[in-house]
């Protein structure tokens, strides 16, 4: 006779202070032995009310707030927000600024994916992979530092352009770095994605079919890992992306391995994009002339979306004609993607939880806002 007392599920609270919850995520697990029966994601530990704060700030003052959404890829939120404001206030962006935005955002994609690929390694116990990936990220971040003086919260993209022009020699430094980067990326590919143990850990874990990825609203590498060739840079080619050639990386199995390797291979595409963008980048102004410090878009709303490292990042602004936004809403890809954990984790063992969570690449600054 099985005793009910001893047959109950074990409830484990993973996070918010746990090494592999990527910040302050918290998951309430029901374990049957070592097997996850139910995974409930509890968010809000990093809620700062950024959308509400934005309503009390001028349009320019919101830019530093957007840094703090996706703090692994601040450039994206900067850009998406500025695109929305530019749409609302009908501000043109000089071509050079558009190229600079594309360059920094693709560099940011590499930096952000390196964080994610590295933590795929760290989640499965290969800490050296994490360090190597961070080494690559560090090179990008140093270039960002030369560009705008900040390493994490750049506030680089501004309504109407960018904050600083590239200093002398910066473009060459970027090109030189881009030529070196594929070597490091290939090394990572061999060290992590070629390794038999890593394949054992990542393959077949957290499988999401193409239909499920579409039905559950996944975007970015999470969707592409499941074979959905969804890339806003392609589908809704914004900025100067139509002039640039690159491939979309998709996975076939939709498991953690495909999602993680998608990110790695996207870095090669980003390198291609950056090289083309730097070649094509014209001289010229980097900020549209005559943007007042107090931008007051006419009454109305605007929605802009870009392809961030995590997926479709949308920003919706509503203006009541004043100098402060009436409402700002962020459609954050990390929020939509991380919510899939409760669908993907059950029937996997506890060890796989971190791997699945890591393959969804959540940044809780963006999830909680």
């Amino acid at each position: 006779m099985p005793d009910q007392e001893f047959n109950q599920e074990l409830v484990v609270n993973v996070g918010p202070q746990h090494p592999s919850t990527h910040g302050v995520g918290r998951i309430l697990l029901n374990l049957d032995g070592d097997i996850v029966r139910k995974a409930e994601l509890i968010i809000g530990h990093l809620h700062r009310g950024i959308e509400k704060m934005a309503e009390n700030r001028t349009y320019l003052q919101v830019v530093p707030l957007t840094d703090r959404l996706d703090y692994v890829g601040s450039m994206y939120a900067n850009w998406a927000y500025c695109r929305a404001v530019e749409k609302a206030a009908a501000i043109d962006v000089p071509e050079r600024a558009e190229y600079l935005r594309v360059i920094v955002c693709e560099m940011q994609r590499i930096a952000s994916h390196m964080m994610s690929v590295g933590s795929s390694g760290a989640d499965s116990g290969a800490f050296t992979v994490f360090v190597y990936a961070f080494d690559l990220r560090e090179r990008i971040v140093e270039l960002f530092e030369q560009l705008c003086g900040a390493r994490l919260t750049y506030s680089y993209v501004r309504p109407g352009g960018v904050a600083f022009d590239a200093p002398d020699g910066w473009a060459d430094a970027v090109l030189a770095e881009m030529r070196k980067l594929p070597t490091g990326l290939e090394e990572l590919d061999k060290l992590l994605f070629g390794n038999v143990i890593a394949r054992g850990r990542l393959k077949g874990v957290g499988i999401m079919s193409t239909e499920q990825a579409i039905a559950w609203g996944a975007t970015g590498p999470v969707a592409r890992g499941s074979g959905v060739a969804l890339d806003i840079r392609r589908q809704d080619a914004y900025s100067v992306y139509p002039r640039i050639g690159f491939d979309v990386v998709v996975g076939d199995n939709g498991d953690a391995y495909d999602r993680a390797r998608c990110r790695l291979l996207e870095c090669f595409e980003s390198v291609r994009i950056i090289e083309q963008a730097i070649t094509q980048m014209p001289e010229g102004p980097i900020l549209t002339d005559g943007i007042p410090r107090l931008i007051a878009p006419p009454k109305g709303d605007a929605y802009a979306r870009i392809e961030s490292a995590r997926g479709t990042l949308g920003v919706y602004t509503v203006s009541d004609g004043g100098a402060k936004p009436y409402r700002v809403h962020f459609r954050s890809p990390a929020f939509c993607n991380v919510s899939l954990i409760s669908r993907l984790a059950p029937s996997h063992v506890l060890s796989d939880l971190g791997v699945i969570l890591g393959s969804l690449d959540p940044v809780f600054g963006e999830v909680d806002r």
């Binding site: 090494p19 989640d123 050296t128 143990i197 890593a198 054992g200 060890s351």
Partner: protein, 315 residues
Amino acid sequence: MRSYLFGVLWGFAAAILIALTALFGVWWERKVAGRMQMRFGPQQAGPAGVLQTLADTVKLVVKEDITPNLADVPVFKLMPYLVFVPSASAFAVIPFANGWAPFNTEASALFFLAVPGMGALGMLLAGWASHNTYGSLGGVRAAAQLVSYELPRTLSVLSLVVLAGTTSAVGIRGAWQWWWIVVLAPAFAVYFISSIAEVNRGPFDLPEAESELVAGYFVDYSGIRWAIFMMVEYSGIVAASLFGAATFLGGGLGIPGPLGVLLFVAFTVAFTTMMIWVKWSFPRLRPDQLMSFAWKVLTPVALVQLLVAGVVSAL
């Protein structure tokens, strides 16, 4: 009476040796892992940071020793020692020189394999006594893993025993022949891999898997008790390396004199480095992969090796 006095003396010397090996092990691992990750590792305390571990130890000793509210206090406080003593006693039977070990018995090879295995009990109880889910899971994992890997490890040493015709580690070292290196290569591989698992090192560090169980069975330990767990790990690495070098490689390839000693030390350091190298290069296995690896790969290999060793010795 004299034998007790000697025992105390030996024990004292052994404690110092174990502490030194742990100090060296930690420092060496930090240096090697650092260089692997393009860092310097410790570099401030002493030349090349050799005193860093000492400074850390001082810090750990004076750190507050926290006992969780709901812990089973006596068990919680005792368990580090229960893990440490068996692990430390392994040093007693290692043949450091030709024909000499601190504690030489007929069955010292089996002693080396069996006694540290008792640490599994300590780990299980330590995890349980913390009254922490992660601790409990880590303890259970440790018990399962240590018990599973005892088998291939013992089988691999049995090949040695068959060839040497003795279960004494000193005897094995004495009987070592150079062609064993060829014949017993698979046995050594099995020994090496299962030793890594026995001392909870990556890629078999599931009981303390940082990204899953935070720190596993010693998640709630702090200060000196935590340090003892770490010491067990590093002394385990060194003990396994020493034993492997002493038996599978006949100490210094059976060469007498200083060259042999030098080779013995070199082999030990090489094996230790190899364990560090492996840990910092590979991801960690999943529990089910760990088990199937032990039972489906290592054990059959060790059994075949035993058969080969038997046939060879019969010839």
